[in-house]
Amino acid sequence: MPTNILMPALSPTMTEGTLARWLKKEGDKVKSGDVIAEIETDKATMEVEAADEGVLAKIMVAAGTSGVKVNAPIAILLEEGEDASALNKTPAPANASAPVAPLPVAAATAPKPVAVPAAAPAAQSGERIFATPLAKRIAAERGINLASLQGTGPHGRITREDVLAGKSNGHGVQLPATTAQGTALAHPPATGAIADMLTKLGQTFTAIPNNNVKKVTAKRLLESKQTIPHFYLTIDCRIDHLLGMRKRINETGIKVSVNDFVIRAVALALKEIPAANAAWTDEAVLRFNEVDVSVAVATPNGLITPIIKGADKKGLSSISDEMKTLAEKARTGKLKPEEFMGGGFTISNLGMFGIKDFAAIINPPQSCILAVGAGEQRPVVTNGAIEIATIMSCTLSVDHRSVDGSVGAEFLQAFKKRIEDPALMLL
C-alpha cells in the first residue's frame, strides 16, 4: 500500500515552507529514522525523517520548491517489494497518515490555529484576504495592512469595525517570527527597481538572493527601528576581576567565555530588575515570568538569536555548554523553533571584533538589547591616580514605552555590579 509523505508542520503556526533539498533519490531504500529531506522555514532548516521502512518511490515536490503547503504530499513511499504499479493506487492525501516524524516537534498533525487568518506575507504569496469593500477602502486610506488584522465578520471576513479597532490591537503580543511565516523564497533574485536602476547606471553587481532568515530579519529590524521609540544608555565596566576569574576557571579545563559571564550577569540583573524583562503592547506591558536571554549569533544565513532559557537558574558552565551547542546549531541551521522563538532580552556582542561600543536594534517584542563592546585596556582615574584598567563598554537600547530611563539605568547598574565583581554571580 503506497503511503504519502506529507509536508510536515515544523511549528504550530507554520502553514508552508521551502523544500530545500532531498537527501534520498527515487528508488532509494529508507529505514525509519533516515533523514530523507530538508525543509526550510522562516528561520531554520529542519530534517525530515522517515517514520516507516520502504522505498522512496516518487518525489512529488522538487528540491528548491518554495511555498509548499503543510500536509501537501511531497513524496510517495512504497512498502518493500511493492510494485511501482501500486503508485496508481496512491491514497488520497486526506486519509494518509503522515509517515514522517518531523524534527523536532510532533507537530505534523498540530492543527493550524483556526482563528488566525492569512498573515501578512500570505498576501504576497497570493492568498486572498477577505475583507468588506468598505474595510478595504478605509484600510487603504489609513495605510493599514489588512493582513495584520483579524476579521470578526462571517468566515473571518475583515469588517469596517475590525479596521477601526485594528490600530489599537497589540500586534506586539504576537511572536514576530510567526507573523512572518509563509514568506516564499523569491525565485529571480536581482529584479526590482533598484537593480534596474543600477544596471542603467552601468554599475555591475552580484545578486545574493535573500533567504527566509534574511527577509524575516530585515522586516523585523525595520519594524523595530520604525515603530519602537529607542533610547540608549552606555556604561563602562571594569572587567579585570572577571578576566582573572575566567583565567582561573579555564585553567581547570572548563572553558568559559567573557560572553558566558555577560549572559549570567544579564540574567541575574534581570532577576533583580524584572521591569527590564518585558514586552510592550497597547493594552498592557507584559512582564515575563521567566528569565530567557536571547543571544545574537551570526550565521552564514544571517542573524539568529537562540535562547538560554531560565538563564538565572543556570550556572556559568551550563550556560557555556548550552551556548556552544546552540551556536553550533544556529550556524548549521538546525535550531528548533522553540530554541530561537521567544526570549525576553537580547545580548549582542561584537567585542571579539574589537568594536569599542555600538547601539543595537531592539529585538521585538522584547524591550531591551545589550550591545557589548570589546574589553580593552584604558587609562582610568582611580582615587586621583591614573591607572590601567580593562574596560568593556556596554550600550543598552531600550523601548521607552515599556521601560523608562531610570529602569534601564538601574538594570545597567545591577549588571555592572556583577560584571565588575564576579563573585556576586555565585549567589
Binding site: 468588506t132 468598505l134 486610506e141 462571517p154 469596517r160
Partner: protein
C-alpha cells in the same frame, strides 16, 4: 414542573422565530402564547393590512383601467369580502406557524406566561403549567398607545384593530398620527373613497423618513385628495351619535373637523404588565423593558426582544433580535449586536415608502460629509411601462469612504427594492460595488443603480 432549556413568552414574529431557532440549536424549547400564534404582526398587523391594501390597489387600478386601454364599468367593492379575505390570509398563516413550531419540536403552551421566581414561568389559561428553564425570553410585544382624551371606544374612535375589520365604509375619517400605521390606514380608506384627514404633531408626515421623502409623500397624498395637517394636535373630541367632532390645534389656532370615525395611531407601548417583571426586578423605562446589546434584562437569565424591548417597532427587528439572543445563549461564535442602521423600514401606502440607514440630515448631523444621489421614477422605463411615474430613489454616501449611509425610496414596489440597499449596507458595500453591479433591464431596480451613479455625477438616464 416541566423542564426546558429555554422558555419563550409570546408567539409573535419575535417569539416564534426565536423558539424555532433555539430548537435548531438543540435546545428543548417551550413557547407560551395567550392569543394567537404569529402575534399582532400576522393576525392584526403587517399581514392583514397588506391584504387590505392589495384590495385597495386592485380597486385603484380598476378605476384607472382606461389608462391601460381597458374598460370596466360599474366598479364596486364588497367591504365584507375584502375584510374576509384579509382575515383568511391571517388565519392561513397563523396555521402555518403552528405547523412550523410542531415540525421544530417546540412545545406550545396556550395561556398567559408569567415570570414566577428564578428560572420559572407559570402558565395560566387553557393549559395551566409550571415551567422551568435557565433562560427565559420575553417577547410579549406591544399594543397601541393611548393618548388621554383620545381613548378608543371601538365604535367612533378606533385603533388599528377596529380599523382592520370595518363593517361599513366611513364617509369621512380622521387619522391621528402619520407614522407607518396611520398612513397605511389613511391610504387604504382614501383609496376606497373615504374623505381622509391626517393630523400629525410633527412638522411633516412619516417623520422618521428622510425629509425629502416626507415632502414627496405629502404632495402625493394631497394629490389623492387627502387632507394633511402637520404641527397639529388633537385637543378635544366631541362625540355625536354616529360622528365625532375633533378640535385640532394648528399653530395655536383651534379648528373643528367633523368625521364619521377617528383612528388613533400615535405609537405603541410595550406589554410590560402582568408578566412578573416587578417581582423579578426587571427594569422598565417608558413602557419598554431595558436591555443590553445582547437583549439581556437586568435579571440574570431573562431576556427581552422585539417591541417589548423598544423601537424600532418592526417584526423583522424582533425576529432578528430573538435569533441573535438565542444564538448568544447557545454560544454561537462570531455574533454581532443588532445594528439599527441596517434595519430597513417599509410603509405600504400608495406610493410605497422604504428606507434603510441614515437620512441626509442625520448623516450631516453625525458629521459626515455626504454625496447625495437622486433618481426619479420618471426616468425609468419600467416605471413608465407600469404606469407608475411617481417616485424617487435617494441615496446618501459618505464622501470620504463611499459607505452607503442611507437609502430612501418612494414609489411603486420600493418595499421590495430596499433589500438591495440593505444588503449593500450589511456587506459594507460602497458606491463602487453598486456602480459595478449589473442591474437587470428593464426593472425598477435600475433606479437604485442610477441613484448611486447620480451621487457621483454620473447618472445616465436623467
Amino acid at each position: 414542573m416541566e423542564k426546558f432549556d429555554l422558555i419563550v413568552i409570546g408567539g409573535g414574529p419575535g417569539g416564534y422565530v426565536t423558539a424555532i431557532r433555539a430548537s435548531q440549536l438543540g435546545m428543548k424549547t417551550a413557547l407560551v402564547e395567550a392569543n394567537h400564534l404569529g402575534g399582532i404582526c400576522l393576525n392584526w398587523g403587517c399581514i392583514p393590512t397588506k391584504a387590505l391594501l392589495r384590495s385597495a390597489e386592485v380597486y385603484h387600478l380598476m378605476q384607472h383601467a382606461g389608462a391601460y386601454g381597458l374598460a370596466a364599468d360599474n366598479i364596486r367593492f364588497d367591504l365584507k369580502k375584502i375584510v374576509d379575505r384579509s382575515r383568511g390570509v391571517a388565519s392561513q398563516l397563523s396555521g402555518g406557524v403552528k405547523h412550523l413550531l410542531k415540525k421544530n419540536k417546540v412545545t406550545v403552551y396556550d395561556g398567559y406566561g408569567k415570570l414566577a421566581g428564578k428560572g420559572t414561568v407559570s402558565v395560566e389559561g387553557k393549559t395551566p403549567a409550571q415551567l422551568e428553564a435557565p433562560h427565559i425570553i420575553l417577547a410579549t410585544g406591544a399594543r397601541a398607545r393611548v393618548l388621554p382624551g383620545l381613548e378608543p371606544d371601538g365604535k367612533l374612535v378606533w385603533t388599528y384593530k377596529e380599523a382592520m375589520v370595518p363593517t361599513s365604509m366611513p364617509k369621512s375619517l380622521l387619522v391621528v398620527g402619520s407614522g407607518a400605521i396611520g398612513i397605511e390606514f389613511a391610504s387604504f380608506y382614501r383609496t376606497m373613497g373615504a374623505e381622509v384627514t391626517v393630523v400629525e404633531v410633527m412638522d411633516r408626515v412619516l417623520p422618521v423618513e428622510d425629509e425629502e421623502i416626507s415632502a414627496f409623500a405629502r404632495k402625493a397624498f394631497e394629490k389623492q385628495g387627502m387632507k394633511i395637517m402637520t404641527g397639529a394636535k388633537v385637543v378635544k373630541l366631541t362625540k355625536g351619535a354616529d360622528s365625532v367632532t375633533v378640535t385640532i390645534d394648528v399653530a395655536g389656532k383651534a379648528q373643528d373637523v367633523t368625521v364619521d370615525r377617528v383612528i388613533s395611531a400615535v405609537g405603541i407601548t410595550g406589554n410590560v404588565e402582568n408578566i412578573g417583571l416587578e417581582t423579578a426586578g426587571i427594569k422598565v423605562d417608558r413602557g419598554h423593558v431595558v436591555i443590553d446589546e445582547w437583549c439581556r434584562t437586568s435579571a440574570a437569565g431573562v431576556y427581552a426582544i422585539g417591541d417589548l424591548a423598544g423601537p424600532p417597532w418592526l417584526a423583522h427587528k424582533a425576529s432578528h433580535e430573538g435569533v441573535m439572543c438565542v444564538e448568544k445563549i447557545a454560544g454561537v461564535k462570531g455574533l454581532h449586536p443588532l445594528d439599527i442602521s441596517k434595519i430597513p423600514g417599509c410603509t405600504y401606502c400608495h406610493p410605497q415608502v422604504a428606507s434603510v440607514g441614515m437620512t441626509e440630515a442625520k448623516a450631516k448631523a453625525a458629521g459626515y460629509e455626504v454625496k447625495v444621489g437622486r433618481f426619479p421614477f420618471m426616468g425609468n422605463g419600467k416605471a413608465i411601462a407600469l404606469g407608475e411615474p411617481e417616485g424617487m430613489v435617494k441615496t446618501v454616501f459618505d464622501a470620504k469612504t463611499g459607505e452607503l449611509l442611507g437609502a430612501h425610496m418612494i414609489g411603486a414596489e420600493v418595499t421590495e427594492l430596499i433589500q438591495g440597499y440593505t444588503l449593500t449596507r450589511s456587506m459594507e458595500g460602497t458606491e463602487a460595488e453598486l456602480m459595478h453591479t449589473v442591474f437587470p433591464h428593464p426593472t425598477l431596480s435600475e433606479m437604485m443603480h442610477e441613484s448611486a451613479l447620480d451621487a457621483y455625477g454620473r447618472a445616465v438616464h436623467f
